[in-house]
Subunit: 567 residues, 2 copies
Amino acid sequence: MHPLFAKHQATLAAATAATAARGWHSPYPESPSRRHHPPGARAAGEAAFAACLGRDFALDTAGPPRGWVGEEVSPYTGAPLGIRSPDPDPDRTLAAAQAAMGPWAAAGPEARIGVCLEALDQLAGEVFASAQATMHTAGQAFLMAFAGSGANALDRGLEAVVHAWAAMERIPARATFTRRFGRGAPVTLDKRYRLVPVGPALVMSCGSYPAWNAWPAVFANLATGNAVILKPHPDAILPMAMGVRRLRAVLAEAGFDPALVALAPDTRAAPVAMAYLEHPALRIVDFTGSQRFGRWLEDHCHRLQVYTETAGCNAAVLLSTDDLDATLHAIAHSLCIFSSQMCTAAQNIWLPATGVETPTGRVAPAEVQRRLVAQIDALVADPAVAAGLCGAIQSPAVLDDIAALRAAAPAVGRVLRDSAPYPHPDHPRARTATPLVVAVEAPGATLHQREHFGPMAFVLTAPDAEAAIARAADEAGRFGAIASYAWTTDAAQQERVIDAFAAAGASVGLNLQRQLPINYAAAYSDFHVTGLNPAGSACLTDLAFVARRFRVVQAKLERPAPPADGS
Amino acid sequence: MHPLFAKHQATLAAATAATAARGWHSPYPESPSRRHHPPGARAAGEAAFAACLGRDFALDTAGPPRGWVGEEVSPYTGAPLGIRSPDPDPDRTLAAAQAAMGPWAAAGPEARIGVCLEALDQLAGEVFASAQATMHTAGQAFLMAFAGSGANALDRGLEAVVHAWAAMERIPARATFTRRFGRGAPVTLDKRYRLVPVGPALVMSCGSYPAWNAWPAVFANLATGNAVILKPHPDAILPMAMGVRRLRAVLAEAGFDPALVALAPDTRAAPVAMAYLEHPALRIVDFTGSQRFGRWLEDHCHRLQVYTETAGCNAAVLLSTDDLDATLHAIAHSLCIFSSQMCTAAQNIWLPATGVETPTGRVAPAEVQRRLVAQIDALVADPAVAAGLCGAIQSPAVLDDIAALRAAAPAVGRVLRDSAPYPHPDHPRARTATPLVVAVEAPGATLHQREHFGPMAFVLTAPDAEAAIARAADEAGRFGAIASYAWTTDAAQQERVIDAFAAAGASVGLNLQRQLPINYAAAYSDFHVTGLNPAGSACLTDLAFVARRFRVVQAKLERPAPPADGS
């Protein structure tokens, strides 16, 4: 048994059990509290981040870099990070990746799994540094950057390792096969089964939440023997560069070629993805980002295995509740948290025209709208609270989109709540924006039928509760949804909600209000993208995500016949 | 637990264990000996087949059939079977299939697996009849039709059920999730996971060996909740029609809609596959047949999951042997058995120019060729033996291909052994042909670099043993191979053979000579298509074959907060 497999066997076993039981589980610290970390860990992480600023990021590449790229700007300070990463030659990078895959594949599943688990542990050990990197590129608030892009993302990575292990450990390295053919003596064959990775893979991470999707893809590929070229979003290179550096160090320490994980940074002006996507050596692409590019990949990259996690117009269907303000607080919280820049954020809030049923009677849509706005206002009133909740706006383009939606609102309805910056207490130049909420009133309006990335939401009214369910589910199926939400106290209606969303190929969370954020997707418990609607194909968390990344080549060797005379 | 799951649980458990141990296993009788069957089973099967001849095949369809089609001709008698099957309307068939999938999916994995296992048992119970149907359409000899298209094919189907069960049983129907969010009391969510099939699927079976590939695809689809439209090759409808009738009866008996399995027969003149492939309702295609159509599916049907099992130019590399005549007998046997109409038949026999090493010294290629021809001659000399071994030629086109190769031979080398009919003792009008063997002598000849379906083989000479390995493996990687073979008594060279074929993405059997036929691929033990060379993508026998045929949709429901005062 490989020593790293032995070292982490208990972690693997516990995560495997969690994936079966699907309750809460995590081997990684989700809290930055000093109780869970060595003394000085936070300060050391901050210092490690600060040490990256204003200089070139040291990372070996396959051959000399073509240049150095990087133009990240902190959403908090507005200042360029001043970090450049080496831009490797794609031909050399893929050639090195292919060459590195030979010994990596030959090492076998246990060695690879062991190295992956060690890498996850070591990544967990530098979350204080990577959280700073995530904050100052993606714009996440510290706690989210620490937990959501730390433990939660590593848990998703571990989950991919669990599934990869499950798919591979079913196949023994060797077997003995004996049977009679015709009337002869039994024949024995020694069989060997070799797992052959299909990669290399390109993993394209997103700008707002890079780690959460990157680690599942990176570890699904590595565990099954594939080399990874990680192409980060040009706005969020640093957290991925830190991860790549750590992964390469772990691989080298374990005696493998660090070329198994390479970084392919680029800029908006000179994107590099196509050089890899069109390269004959590439075999897999894992993409997180826009529905448009995800669909382009699915429609055009037929030579590749394509796994996508894109976007949808997530619904929140509010029909009845035991506690209207608690429910509206949960919805408002989803619109505010990380300024609605999560793939699981609610966007389209559906109300029955007949009103929302509550213990004190039906509440008319206008009143629900008013109280929703009040909940949002309350959440963002205190800048310190707003800062911890909303974080910053990842890209200036989001502010443009907010302005565009504000201008478009009168054509479809009206603005219920306008967006405005909030003053960040620590970072006066932070790019911030509170939610813009638009009531859609024009029949046939379609503005809400796509993702509006950032703090933008719509309130829609359907004739009655059943119509609200039907319309929300229909749009999830047609335009995509990664997470949908509904509130109803009626048990039979709950079943209809579940059935309607399932028929549309969409998952749904019901009556979430004490689980805050409602956006939270739990590793080992929640499946992610269903693959049944336009929000993408990569569940991230099932066997389908790993089972095709390797194939089986076998050899069978017939044993010579025993001597006829028994000598 | 569903009663059929309970009934067949031991079968599932034993097959699951066999898939892990990968030794010999089968719950179905491979031998037609009366010891293994009820009295009169063979006669009853023959009578059931005879009762099908000369009449319309009764099979319910979704709506009235558009017509009745069927033009199968027995390769043994040369006479039309006179059987027509109903040609259903594709729109109605797919609509009925989709409608049937709802309750089938909702029934859950245990019910579906139970029904599949029952269906396999019932199919095993009518192998005497289906063997006659396979003989008189595909042209297989009786023993092959009984074992290879009976138990062996059903074993492959059961293997698909095992993998589907493994992929599904990992996902519980329900789970309870409890954790704290922030400083609040623990929150509990009830979660449900629904397996949603992605189908319907079109299964396109081949003319020469329909059951062996159809059953894995049919059962992989059914087990995961998908309806199946089975489109048989127009030359081999009857064995599939019998299977579809049995499957529909089992489904109906278990309370499910028989529309879950439909037959879509056609003729060469009016092929029906495109009506399904281009239909927006179709989601999966499982294809067995030509490399050309398989590649067309892979290149054009991007909307579909495409699984292909096509063809290659399987090599037999003969370098050294303890018993040259036994090895040549094994190769000759592979060229003769079912007239080389199996996807695992050897085609390109590679020899080192330096000769084949034997216990009595090196044997020059010319002498090896002579003795190979002598082995073939011996195998086909006795018509009764030839009949049992070679069976009949599935299609008249094969005879055309033999004639074409005979004519082309002088341009690339010479005919070592000509093909000729052998007189079938029971069926004087049988379409038969013994192997045509061509020595390839022209440098740069490419004629052998594709499958020649039927009793055609090439003998090629490489400068030395290592060159023979390299060329055979290279061509497997470039032109495809489903099975490759090599003989060498040198342990180090065995490793080089295994590595060279693995690097080309091809499986290899070494020193097979007591396993007769060498073509034999053992369910539960041998993986099939690797997916790493042009011979197709469908392993048939791994998780990758099943894991994407369903997706997971989840619902999570937050439990209300407990009353604050504990009352």
